[in-house]
């Protein structure tokens, strides 16, 4: 009897990885627990152990192969004593083919080449390259740390581990342990220490491993960082950035899957950025680090590995408070931000196929918010829906609806619909989790509803 050894999923969001190294060869006998191979994901290199005992009868994927899909066979394990030549190999993909396939699927991401209409710095002549959001964030921090000695990064696993999600990869090496600082697991304490350091003129970047853990620190963020400028009559404030992944990752349950955009958007004194694309992640983070105010910078784990066009512009900055129009349309305005944009853009494509031209606005920052562009767009399309992954009550969509109603009531031909996550703690089961998040179908259906189609 033979068993296929499959490419393992080593993190909740892993879809593919690199087979960095085989630690066994064909013909080796292994027992459960023996290390078979080193698998590299975009976050880490991990050892992969045997579950059963037997003989490695065939290795299907050679060392160094990239883009191996989770659950695809990487080796064949035969029961001890079995003759390798007896094996039925017809189902096994041959190695060359596997490699070729994975190469083709390498930039597996939707490459976001939709016209960047509101990016004044981009022209047709601007050279672009593909960058992941993860690389963009790292580059932004590195550039700003080179520019200003007072900028430093602090958080759990940011230095020696290279970042829990590898966002800070290489920073310790370049900037040293004075400026890239591993903290103990004490969010409340280190958020307070960083805020105090900012009062004294440093420019801290605080990485929360995820924003779920920032709830431990929210008193320091809201009461100390956000309010001190006002309470001191303008004498001192907190020029700093709190950043990290926000919102649902995948299959990590209720306590690790929450979108905090509307929580922080509620607070005067904070700025809130929620980038979707890599170029916005970079340009907004650079703006955030230079900003003299506390900035909440909400990233998304699912987006970290996605590639987007990155303009070849030196010192690329995206100002706060300017929405980006990803698609021009006349029939309905879809407003979103962060990972909500993936549903908005997919829905817009499906709608176009059905003859509805949606205009898609990426707010990029929620504080400040680009009300001007919102009103302009809604005044043109006369219909609007909003898309976000957060809970429905007191959502960003609720706020936008109220604002549009107050300022563009006469332009509206239909009530605004807010597409949001469901009003439930995030379930673990895969099917329920999918149901709990906002879906492209819901966005399409809402758009059709406001178009009375």
């Amino acid at each position: 009897m033979t068993t296929e050894i499959l490419m393992p999923a080593l993190s909740p969001t892993m879809e593919e990885g690199t087979l960095a190294k085989w630690l066994v060869k064909e013909g080796d006998t292994v027992s459960a627990g023996d290390i078979l191979a080193e698998i590299e994901t975009d976050k880490a290199t991990m050892e992969f152990e045997a579950v059963d005992e037997g003989t490695i009868s065939r290795i299907l994927v050679s060392e160094g192969s990239e883009g191996i899909k989770v659950n695809s066979p990487i080796a064949i394990l035969a029961d001890d004593g079995e003759n390798i030549s007896d094996l039925e190999v017809s189902d096994i993909p041959n190695e060359k083919q596997t490699l070729a396939d994975t190469k083709n699927s390498k930039p597996k991401v939707e490459t976001s080449t939709i016209e960047s209409i509101s990016e004044p710095e981009w022209t047709d002549a601007t050279k672009v390259s593909q960058k992941t959001v993860r690389e963009a964030l790292r580059d932004a921090m590195a550039e700003e740390m080179r520019r200003d000695e007072k900028v430093f990064l602090m958080g759990e696993e940011v230095a020696e581990y290279q970042g829990a999600y590898k966002v800070s990869q290489g920073l310790l090496e370049e900037f040293g342990s004075k400026r890239v600082i591993d903290t103990p697991i004490t969010e409340h304490g280190f958020a307070g220490i960083a805020t105090g350091a900012s009062f004294a003129g440093l420019r801290p970047i605080v990485e929360f491993m995820t924003f779920n853990f920032a709830m431990q620190a929210i008193d320091q963020i809201v009461n100390s960082a956000a309010k001190t400028l006002y309470m001191s009559g303008g004498q001192m404030g907190a020029p700093m950035v709190f950043r990290g992944p926000n919102g649902a990752a995948a299959r990590v349950g209720a306590q690790h899957s929450q979108d905090y955009t509307s929580w922080y958007a509620h607070i005067p004194g904070l700025k809130v950025a929620v980038p979707y694309s890599a170029s916005d992640a970079k340009g907004l983070l650079k703006s955030a680090i230079r900003d003299d105010n506390p900035v909440i910078f909400l990233e998304n784990e699912i987006l970290y590995g996605r590639s987007f066009d990155m303009p070849d512009i030196e010192d690329y900055i995206v100002p706060f408070g300017k929405a980006r129009i990803w698609r021009i349309g006349t029939d309905v305005t879809i407003i979103s931000f962060g990972i909500g944009m993936q549903y908005a853009l997919k829905a817009a494509e499906e709608l176009a196929a059905q003859g509805i031209e949606a205009e898609v606005l990426d707010l990029r920052t929620i504080r400040p918010i680009d009300y001007e562009k919102i009103i302009q767009s809604v005044s043109k399309t006369n219909r609007c829906i909003t898309v976000e992954e957060g809970f429905p009550v007191a959502s960003i969509g609720n706020h936008l609806s109220a604002y549009i109603m107050e300022h563009a009531f006469d332009y509206l031909d239909a009530p605004i619909i807010n597409c949001t996550g469901k009003d439930v703690p995030m379930p673990y089961a895969a099917n329920l989790e999918k149901l709990a998040l906002v879906t492209t179908e819901e966005v399409v259906s809402a758009a059709k509803k406001v178009c009375y189609r």
């Binding site: 960083a194 350091a197 320091q220 001190t228 309470m231 303008g234």
Partner: protein, 329 residues
């Protein structure tokens, strides 16, 4: 130098003794005036008086050098006066006027002075402790050999973030002095009812932070402990804990009738341990000053305090457009 029972021998000359007397008296009279203005409805909200605890901040300020930083809780008037902030600006902030340190937008609990390195004025119990360590973090980062005095009370000493901060301050050898002003009551709860180990200074041991208890009713003991702690920090040895045993004569805030302790307890403290009376007696018995000298100081202080009250009443309320300023830099 004359010395009353309990005073440690310190290198303090007559000039310094007089300045301690003056500084403590200024806080006492200022706070009494603030209490009066509160009673007249000129000061609103919360108002936490420092009366009884004057020796703590005056003693420690005597150990500080230019550029050293300080941060405290909402019981902050004394700290501001002791570090040289203008009584007019403090009192006008209490009355919520444009002439206040925060243009009237902070109030009793939220005042700051960049010039004097006073970093507030914080209303959430214990929150100033990591903030203070953060100030020290900046000093260490900038390599400027400054020290931060981070004040908090026996109540705050039970907050979790204090211990998170102890851990990091020790781990990173931050030049911060944790000053626990143990005035025996966390609002209405006596320390014995709220604190499992009454000697709070020993709690640094688990983090390898040295600590000591200090008689907070004796400004000379405080000064001497302050010197030691400052030297420890400036020598790069990391944080230091001073638990200063003190006593507040008034309620937790103006609205506190203080039913949780007896009138006799307060009276006994005032009569036997008062820090200002203590230093006054040292000055007189040691013939560092005459009754006349002290009377003239009293008069001078009274004048400063009265002027601050007049300024605070005369200063206009903030302009209405101040509502929307200083939210973003």
């Amino acid at each position: 130098m004359g010395s009353r029972k309990g005073s440690k021998k310190t290198n303090v000359n007559a000039q310094e003794l007089l300045s301690f007397y003056k500084d403590m008296l200024l806080i006492r009279r200022f706070e009494e005036k603030a209490g009066q203005l509160y009673g007249m409805g000129l000061i609103g909200g919360f108002c936490h008086l420092y009366i009884g605890q004057e020796a703590v901040v005056v003693g420690l300020e005597a150990s500080a050098e230019d550029g050293d930083k300080r941060i405290t809780s909402y019981r902050d008037h004394g700290h501001m006066l002791a570090c040289g902030m203008d009584p007019n600006g403090v009192m006008a902030e209490l009355t919520g006027r444009a002439g206040g340190y925060s243009k009237g937008k902070g109030g009793s609990m939220h005042m700051f002075s960049k010039e004097k390195n006073f970093f507030g004025g914080h209303g959430i119990v214990g929150a100033q402790v990591p903030l203070g360590a953060g100030l020290a973090f900046a000093d260490k980062y900038l390599e400027n050999n400054r020290v931060t005095f981070t004040y908090f009370g026996d109540g705050a000493a039970n907050q979790g973030q204090v211990y998170e901060t102890f851990n990091m301050a020790s781990l990173w050898k931050l030049p911060v002095i944790f000053v626990i002003e143990n005035n025996q009551y966390a609002m209405g709860t006596s320390q014995l009812r709220s604190t499992s180990t009454p000697d709070i200074y020993t709690r640094g041991a688990g983090f390898d932070i040295p600590g000591e208890a200090v008689d907070g009713m004796d400004v000379l003991s405080v000064k001497s402990a302050g010197d030691k702690a400052v030297k420890h920090c400036r020598d790069g040895k990391g944080p230091y804990i001073l638990e200063i045993k003190t006593y507040r004569y008034r309620g937790h805030s103006m609205s506190d009738p203080a039913k949780y302790r007896t009138r006799e307890e307060v009276q006994k403290m005032r009569e036997e341990r008062d820090a200002i009376e203590n230093i006054r007696s040292i000055l007189l018995t040691g013939k560092h000053a005459s009754e006349e000298d002290l009377k003239s100081i009293d008069k001078e202080i009274k004048k400063i305090v009265n002027e601050s009250a007049e300024f605070a009443k005369a200063s206009p309320e903030p302009k209405l457009d101040e509502l929307y300023t200083d939210i973003y830099a």
